[in-house]
């Protein structure tokens, strides 16, 4: 298995390299750079002096040919230096490390709530297939999948303020220092994310459970006189969980995308907020650093899920 993990990690390198290169090309292919945005302001209200622009470009190293910029960035990354933001001048790596736990916490809390709510719903749906509890629960799942997560966030804020005189807490409190305030703040974006996760988990659990219930070993279990619930929970559930868990990497990816929007709705200083701000000002050093870490995280989650897969299903072995 160690060899398998090593091979997967080696294979990840070209993917990460490709992704960051793609972003570099996309950002630099069209005119307009961070220097003119710094001088002009994002809405273009400042005055642009050609001389200042040249000086600033030189200062930021934007006057160099594109390939020089690219390889200098790449060379630094290999040595672990992600550069400094073109917009704020802050160290990219430090900024990422500071905000990473916030985004990860939201994403994982969302997935956790999604599983806690989605699994029982999926199981009940499968057991009561094509009866009214199934219809209602499935209807719920399809409905929640259709609601934009940012709109749920918006409604929480608007209705909370209007009818409960409640405002979501602003500012950020680290989990280890003030756990209660931290959770009180991050639970809202996490719940908004979970509104999609639970629906996906429920749907996947249902269909996978129905498939498993047709298997011979389920019939055997029933034939030897086991109670329905024992058959469902001990024989069918564990096997039907495999495809559900596989989807976890998908939830993780959509969660990362979702937090970009939700962190803006709830003004949470996570990676998503930083990504959105950096992308708007074409701060490509920051954007590439962020993409590097987002993609790397995603690849690691994928690997973890694959290993989990092998643990859940002993027939699968990685060599």
């Amino acid at each position: 298995m160690a060899a398998y993990v090593a091979r997967r990690l080696l294979l990840a390198i070209p993917t990460i390299w490709g992704a960051t290169t793609l972003v570099f090309l996309v950002i630099n292919v069209l005119p307009g750079d961070v220097a003119s945005l710094i001088l002009q302001g994002t809405s273009g209200e400042g005055i642009l002096m050609p001389y200042n622009l040249e000086v600033l470009r030189k200062e930021l190293g934007l006057d160099r040919p594109m390939y020089v910029q690219y390889f200098s960035w790449l060379g630094h990354v290999v040595t672990g230096n992600f550069g400094t933001s073109l917009w704020t001048g802050r160290d990219v790596f430090k900024e990422v490390i500071m905000r990473l736990p916030i985004t990860l916490q939201i994403a994982f809390m969302g997935i956790f709530f999604g599983f806690v709510v989605g699994l029982p719903i999926g199981i009940i749906s499968a057991i009561k297939q094509d009866k009214w509890p199934d219809y209602i629960l499935r209807g719920f799942a399809i409905l929640f999948l259709a609601i934009p997560t940012f709109w749920i966030g918006l409604m929480v804020i608007v209705l909370g303020a209007r009818y409960f005189h409640w405002n979501p807490p602003i500012g950020y409190y680290p989990l280890w220092e003030e756990p209660l305030r931290n959770v009180k703040q991050l639970i809202w974006p996490a719940l908004a994310l979970a509104s999609h996760d639970f629906a996906r988990v429920a749907r996947m659990t249902r269909s996978s459970m129905l498939e498993v219930l047709k298997e011979d070993y389920v019939r055997t279990a029933r034939a030897k006189g086991l109670g329905e619930w024992v058959v469902f929970l001990r024989h069918a559930l564990r096997n039907s969980l495999i495809p559900v868990v596989t989807l976890m990497s998908v939830y993780f990816a959509t969660s990362l995308g979702g937090t970009v929007v939700l962190e803006n709705v709830f003004s949470v200083p996570g990676l998503g907020q930083l990504f959105y701000q950096s992308v708007r000002v074409k701060d490509f050093v920051m954007v590439q650093g962020l993409i590097f870490w987002l993609v790397t995280m995603f690849i690691f989650v994928n690997l973890f899920v694959d290993l989990l897969y092998g643990w859940l299903d002993p027939r699968i072995s990685y060599k």
Binding site: P14, T15, I16, G18, A19, L22, V23, V26, I27, V29, L30, Q129, G139, I142, L143, L145, A146, I147, P148, F150, W151, L154, M155, I157, V158, L159, A161, R162, S207, L210, A253, T254, L256, G257, G258, V260, V261, N264, V265, F275, Y276, V279, R280, K282, V287, I291, L294, V295, F298, I299
Partner: protein, 303 residues
């Protein structure tokens, strides 16, 4: 008058054939609605919203851009069914016109994106070897980005605009389709009739278009119908972040963006109704997609 041309003689026959095809389509649609009531409702809602997008003037009661400063932030009433926004514009009419953006973006991006994905997937799956390896590597890189993050990066570069949203979503959804279509192609490729076609000397193009393509069509339509809803949600998120369709053109996501949050604190309807519009359309698309999957995916039949 001159003698009748060939086209004119042929026309009644062609009309009859089109009529037969349409009749068949109608019959199948009715069967679909009867067998899958939820999918049927979804289909009707989608058709209704498509109609709104095609002729918004018929459905709207006001000009969506017409600011009436005597009626700013009024709640729902008989003149303004869903109230007015902070510029006194009629919310109902703006939502009706906003359907145009939603429909253009979803159908446009999915039609182009999934077609590229379909071709790429079939070619990749059929040729295998280095073509497959090269294409799958590229797709892997594209799929390493979460959908919304890739779309955001692209929109930041392109700048806001309806056409640019379509391009960005095309780039996001093409590799996702290609992955599924490659899998479907590999399955079909293993069939005996593909070997038989090759044995009688059919060309690559013929095998791909006559044998593989028709047999992966069901999977393709299922993927495309599922992605329609996803495209709407992504467009709404982009517009919400101010990187989608620029104002004043009404788009549902954009009606919720900027200072919409503060406005909604005093006038909740300005945020509730555009959101509901998104929910209704995405729900309808998903319901149709689900029903299609049930009907077409033989593996899931009878569930």
């Amino acid at each position: 008058m001159m003698g009748r041309s060939v086209q004119e003689v042929a026309r009644p026959q062609a009309v009859a054939r089109v009529g037969r095809v349409l009749g068949e389509l109608l019959k199948q649609t009715l069967t679909f609605i009867r067998r899958k009531p939820l999918g049927g409702v979804g289909l009707i809602v989608v058709l209704l919203i498509v109609a709104m997008a095609v002729v918004p003037g018929v459905f709207a009661t006001h000009d969506p851009l017409d600011a009436d400063f005597d009626a700013v932030l009024k709640g729902p009433r008989s003149v303004h069914w869903l109230g007015t926004d902070n510029l006194g514009r009629d919310m109902y009419s703006r939502i009706v016109w906003g359907s145009r953006v939603a429909i253009i973006v979803s159908f446009g991006a999915i039609a182009v994106g999934t077609t590229i994905g379909l071709v790429a997937g079939v070619v990749s799956g059929y040729f295998g070897r280095w073509v497959d390896v090269a294409m799958q590597r590229l797709i892997e890189i594209m799929l390493a980005f979460p959908a919304l993050i890739l779309a955001l990066a692209l929109m930041a570069v392109f700048g806001a605009g309806l056409d640019k949203v379509v391009i960005a979503l095309t780039v996001v959804y093409a590799p996702r389709t290609a992955r599924v279509m490659r899998g479907a192609t590999l399955q079909v490729k293993a069939m005996m009739y593909v070997d038989a076609a090759r044995a009688i000397g059919a060309s690559h193009a013929r095998i791909m278009f006559r044998h593989l393509l028709p047999n992966v069509m069901a999977s393709y339509l299922i993927v495309a119908s599922t992605l329609l809803g996803a495209a709407i949600l992504t467009e709404a998120s982009l517009s919400f972040l101010g990187l989608g369709v620029p104002p004043p053109a009404p788009s549902w996501g954009q009606m919720l963006s900027g200072n919409a949050q503060e406005i909604a604190l005093t006038a909740p309807w300005t945020a509730i109704f555009p959101g509901l519009a998104i929910v209704v359309l995405v729900f309808a698309f998903n319901a149709v997609g689900d029903a299609l999957r049930d009907v077409w995916d033989p593996k899931l039949r009878g569930r």
